[in-house]
């Protein structure tokens, strides 16, 4: 699962159960969560339970799952519970939560008048709006936003044609601390760098979640005029994700609060509204791929190129094969754009700049600086690999050697390790168990759901980074013991 699923699942995990009950009223939301957030085994379990008339006995589940896959089973159940998809009826049985069950059935079977998957517009769509047009439009909008973030590094934009994203989007980036104001100018933050190196899909989610949080703050202050509410906003995102790319949808069928969201979504490039006709909107690829795992407009690397080449069409063509990396840690990059040079400057020491070529070194200091900003060695290596020059590919293929010099790659990793002399994990220490059996049962359970970071069977202690489900387990275990 990619990074966006992580930030989204973190956001979802901290929502209360009541919020989930409301979210799952919408079939599109239930379906989106089902297809995006669940590992395969969890999906299988949900599908199996979907049409069960009675609660599912845990003992039956044990029979279905091979003993060797216990860990996977426990993790799947843990995810399902944290997303409030299943509930325990009794200690020995579980069932799908009613709203989720109903909505997922509706999503699969069709029917109902929930309009949860959008209402297609009956008016004819303007002929010039086709998929290519929408892709161009979305890319332009998104690149404006990326540009704004990158330009804060200090490489002024040479492009005069684009006037950057709307003020509201800028405020959001500022509020989310992707960029911050410093002495009149803007400067990018560590979170901003991480944002830049993310995949487009993850970037969109980052921005949407920032928007949700901003709306929550507004609501808490009672200052919201638009009447936007984060639960409704979230389910609208999931609705957008279920729409068909390149098709016109009806804005009139949307409730007032959602209509108020449309202008901001236009600013993000998630939807397009034809200038002469505000009764229609077109979802772009950024919106329709929100909950699918396929890559959106392009990969990160291609994104950097596209940001500079604006509407030149196929972004991937412009960007590939630019960097030569030598075993002596020197790097030559055939790049033009300030954006790409800015990215290279993040992790290398640039020495010379010519027209169409920059050269520099990878040094301990430069990698360290990058790591301090929150860029990982793997990100750097994958950036170098995906941008390697054709010649590098040719040499690697003819000599049967790896694409990038292993000595450099290892050294980059070692330099990063240098900065991480200690690895800190937050969590709780469990100790002073009554007896060894108690320790081993609880510790094994915690290990199976994947939350144990350290254990010492001799001392009878373990350290867990999440504690909620262990508490549940201990409570049920205690009850079971009392019953004996």
């Amino acid at each position: 699962m990619s990074a966006n699923a992580n930030s989204l699942s973190q956001y979802l995990e901290q929502l209360p159960g009541t919020t989930f009950r409301r979210l799952y009223l919408q079939p599109s939301t239930a379906f989106a969560i089902f297809r995006r957030m669940l590992p395969h085994l969890a999906k299988t379990i949900v599908m199996a339970m979907l049409y069960m008339p009675l609660p599912f006995q845990l003992s039956d589940l044990e029979i279905w799952i091979k003993p060797t896959a216990r860990r996977e089973k426990d993790q799947a159940i843990a995810i399902l519970r944290s997303l409030h998809i299943i509930q325990r009826d009794t200690p020995q049985s579980m069932s799908l939560t009613p709203n989720f069950r109903k909505s997922l059935r509706l999503a699969l079977e069709g029917g109902g008048d929930h309009n949860s998957f959008g209402v297609p517009s009956t008016q004819p769509a303007p002929p010039e709006i086709d998929i290519a047009f929408l892709d161009r439009y979305a890319r332009k909008k998104w690149d404006d936003i990326l540009h704004y973030v990158v330009n804060s590094v200090g490489f002024s934009s040479s492009e005069k044609g684009s006037n950057g994203p709307k003020q509201s989007v800028k405020d959001l980036l500022l509020g989310g601390r992707l960029v911050e104001r410093k002495g009149g100018g803007l400067s990018i933050t560590q979170a901003g760098f991480t944002f830049l190196l993310q995949e487009a899909n993850a970037q969109v989610w980052t921005l949407l979640l920032l928007w949700l949080e901003a709306a929550d703050v507004l609501n808490a202050n009672g200052a919201s005029r638009a009447g936007m509410e984060s639960v409704d906003m979230l389910s609208f995102f999931f609705l957008l994700a279920s729409l068909e790319h390149g098709r016109a949808y009806n804005t009139d069928s949307l409730p007032e609060a959602r209509k108020n969201m449309l202008p901001t979504l236009v600013d993000f490039g998630l939807i397009y509204i034809p200038p002469g006709n505000s009764h229609q909107f077109f979802p772009t690829r950024l919106a329709t791929t929100l909950t699918s795992s396929e890559t959106t407009l392009r990969s990160v690397s291609a994104g950097f190129a596209a940001a500079n080449n604006g509407d030149n069409g196929d972004a991937t063509q412009v960007d590939k094969s630019a960097i030569i990396l030598e075993t002596n840690f020197r790097m030559y990059a055939y790049v033009q754009s300030p954006l790409q040079i800015a990215v290279l400057a993040l992790f290398s020491e640039l020495k010379f700049r010519f027209k169409g070529l920059v050269s520099g070194h990878l040094t301990r200091a430069s990698i360290r600086r990058a790591v301090d900003m929150g860029i990982t060695s793997d990100q750097i290596i994958s950036y170098l690999a995906s941008h390697a020059h054709e010649q590098m590919h040719r040499v690697a293929a003819s000599t049967h050697k790896p694409l990038l010099p292993p000595v450099v790659i290892d050294q980059i990793r070692l330099w990063q390790l240098d900065t991480e002399r200690m690895l800190a994990t937050q969590g709780y220490l469990f100790k002073d168990f009554d007896d060894y059996r108690e320790y081993i049962e609880i510790c094994n359970f915690a290990d199976d759901i994947g939350v144990v970071s350290w254990r010492n069977d001799k001392k009878g202690m373990f350290f867990a980074n999440k504690v909620d489900q262990i508490k549940d387990f201990m409570r049920t275990r205690k009850k079971a013991n009392e019953g004996k």
Partner: protein, 88 residues
């Protein structure tokens, strides 16, 4: 007995707050122990040769102190990556 443990868990999570497990090489651990010897305000429990339990609010401070110590003891070699030098 068991309820005592649950209570202690609640007390742990409630009052003392979340803790931090630090994993490091034995050599680094000895430096941390040495830093802690001054005031004993970092380490809660010494778990084994490569693990320590640290007060959660002290982690960033400890990291900074460790960096300082390492700077004193480990020499930083400039330009150790390059065999043929450019004219600076």
């Amino acid at each position: 007995m068991f309820s005592y443990f649950l209570d202690s868990l609640h007390r742990d999570t409630g009052k003392l707050g979340i803790r931090t497990l630090v994993e490091c090489d034995p050599s680094i651990k000895s430096i941390i122990v040495n830093i802690d010897n001054d005031k004993n305000d970092y380490i809660i429990e010494d778990l084994d040769e490569s693990h320590l339990l640290i007060k959660d609010n002290m982690v960033s401070q400890l990291k900074a102190k460790l960096e300082d110590r390492l700077k004193e003891t480990v020499p930083i070699v400039e330009n150790d990556s390059d065999s043929d030098r450019d004219v600076k």
